[in-house]
Amino acid sequence: MGKKKSVALIVIMVIVLAGLAFISVASFALSSPNYFTPLISHIQLSTDLGGGYYTVYYPEGVISQEEYELLVNSDTDSDAAETYTRHKGVYLSDEVVDANGTVRESFRTEFDTAFRVMQERFEGKNYSGHSVKLQDDYTIRVEIPYTEDETISTLFDTLGSSGAAYFADSSGNEMMELTSDSVSGVSIGIGTDGNYGLIFDFTSDGQEEFADATSTLISSSSDSSTSSGLTETSATMYLYVGDTAVLQTTIESALNQPSVYVGGGFESAAAADTIVCLVNSALDEDDVFDLALDAPEYYEFTPTMGENAGLIVAIAFGALALIMAIYSIIRYKGMGLAHVFGFITFGLLFIICLALLGTVVLNMAGVLAILITAALMCGFDWYAFKNIAEEFATGKTLTASIKAGYNRSIALTIDVHVLVFAAALILSFIATGAVFYAATILVIGTLLSAACTLGVTRFFFYVLLALPKRKIAFCNFKREETEDA
């Protein structure tokens, strides 16, 4: 490659990398009042790095210490002191405990079902770093990561709904109960208006039942005239879980088909997903509980790894990259410089992927996944440089050494990347929660590391090698310069 071409390429690449780095980390004002937020701030963080929300669900008949004190102190006629019995940090009403102070078996069974179902519902949301814990034996404490995709109070209220799922008319009269006999599953769908809704897959019995329900609904609805003079018949159908209407939609004709899309007007997929989790969990009769759960308020908490943990992790990566770059350049000179360019490309592409892929959430295990892939990238670049040095030591020319060195490295580089990629892919398919997200990050990182090790660093090396007069010294090798390149 000619010197001019090489300089031009380097200038272009530096401008591209600087541009990527700028949009990755810099924040600047656009036309007032808008601001450009850096890509790095779009990376979703788990509870350990970004904090989140928690709430405590109190079943009917169980109240907090604060509520008990309020009852006792605010109302002189209150019989709360006689009605409630202290149990650890909460108070249980006499509906929950019998005269001997023992918790009634019926309450215990119902609460156990509610707790199990709540665990399944939040597990179904696949949050990174969430937890559903038993607190004081008869309350449920739930922690979820910070999110802007849905209203938190609605989310907690919705997932705490008790009772069976059913379609009802506008008066709340049940028209069709949703059970595993009638519905095989519910998933998210996108309507023609761009909003999200629910797709119900019916069994053959369910299809018939739904056709009857919608037919009855339409036949009982009143006709209305449109502006073009045509007569239209429509009715509103509601989806209830227990006493709560979680969705409403307009039906214009009887629907007799195996799958039905019910538009809910959800602007975010996450909000629709919450209803999907709720309805799916209510399909199985064993998972239906009648105990009302109340989450009076929710709380916002700081990251469990400490305040600004996400920022500190980013700074630690920056410091490590700097140490690594200095080591590489001192140890391998020109080759090290090529590696630094390759690594910067790797880092920036990683930030772009993490910021733009909405399905990725960064947690502490994900940080370790990034560390592994960064180690892969550095390890195999240095492995290639070591092989080049060994080939050069055998007396080959620099060009031949580079070619032979890379040829010697390529098999192992591919082998290890394939191995890590396969392991990450398997984990992302099987694991849930924090490990699922870490495995997804590992899949992305392994692909980027392979591309940067096998392609980008090598490309930069060839481009940089065209610049110096003393190419051998540029690679930190020692021999009388007589040749090539």
Binding site: Q119, E123, I323, M364, L371, I372, L376, W382, V418, A431
Partner: protein, 304 residues
């Protein structure tokens, strides 16, 4: 050859003893004292108003000091109510029983009532307590364990095909060994790393496979090259270790530097970060040792 065998047996015996001790501790004493793997007692201090950052920090510091006199504070967490803006501080503490916890809470409430804390109106502060039962994480843990198990099978098949059976076996055994030994050492050192340890176990598994591949990649190359293909396995293994030692150590050193940086920062912002980084550091050290000592010597033993 004899030397390699000795190295292998010493490694194996030491590892088995440590893993057995770790397993004993997990089985009889519990994994560690953190808030996610064992049931915990929590003291909750609530101010009905939204406190300023300074007032919140002052209240938190005061409570930690007071609680420190009667129990050990494992973690503390600040949060804010969505509805009222009330500041809530939660202290995860050690206590002998719920009754003991109630006494500690009562004593803290009395103490706060008579104290003068900048920016805090003591009459608005309430203290309550809770027992929080460990979330079992069964689904999460067993699915990850199955994922790691399937990955292990894939690792063995791939490595056995690419590096030959004995090398594939050595890499696979080393990976399992590293995960188990890391968890055992974390249990023995009583590092309260929490449920994030599953991430450390995954890290340990992959780092081990990665570092071992450096060594066995060289062994495979030596087996292919005419000048070295007839060398005995012990010489090949020793040569591979010698050639790749620096590379393996440097790669691990960078991972370790990262752990140390975050671990030290964790001392100031949250001990959870320090513990998870300490566990990761243990994983990195174990992986280096196994790729330089255990797996090459095991390969020699397997090759006879």
């Amino acid at each position: 050859m004899r030397n390699q065998k000795t190295v292998f047996w010493i490694n194996l015996v030491v590892s088995i003893v440590l893993i057995a001790v770790g397993a004993f501790l997990v089985g009889f004493v519990g994994f560690n004292g953190d808030s996610t793997t064992s049931d915990t007692y929590v003291i909750e201090v609530r101010d009905m108003l939204r406190l300023t950052d300074d007032a919140r920090d002052a209240l938190q510091e005061y409570c930690e000091g007071e609680l420190g006199d009667s129990c050990t504070v494992l973690t503390s967490k600040a949060s804010e109510s969505s509805a009222t803006g009330a500041t809530v501080l939660e202290f995860s503490v050690t206590a002998d029983s719920v009754d003991d916890l109630a006494t500690i809470a009562e004593s803290l409430e009395t103490s706060i009532a008579s104290a003068s804390i900048d920016g805090v109106d003591a009459t608005l502060v309430t203290v309550s307590y809770h027992e929080s039962v460990n979330a079992p994480y069964y689904t999460y843990l067993w699915r990850t364990a199955i994922g790691l198990g399937v990955s292990l099978v894939v690792l063995f098949v791939y490595a056995a095909i690419r590096f030959k059976l004995s090398a594939g076996l050595a890499i696979t055994v080393a990976s399992v060994h590293d995960v188990l030994l890391t968890l055992a050492l974390v249990a023995i050192c009583r590092v309260p790393a929490g449920v994030g340890l599953i991430g450390v176990a995954t890290f340990s598994f992959l780092l081990s496979a990665f570092l071992n591949s450096f060594v066995f990649g060289q062994v495979r190359r030596m087996r292919k090259e005419e000048a070295t293909r007839d060398l005995p396995a012990s010489v090949m293994a020793a040569e591979a270790v010698r050639n790749n030692r620096k590379l393996v150590i440097m790669t691990a050193v960078f991972a370790a530097v990262f752990c140390v940086i975050l671990g030290v920062v964790g001392l100031f912002i949250s001990l959870d970060l320090t513990w998870i980084m300490l566990a990761t550091l243990i994983a990195a050290v174990v992986s280096v040792c196994s790729s330089l000592f255990l797996s090459p010597s095991m390969y020699v033993v397997l090759k006879g």
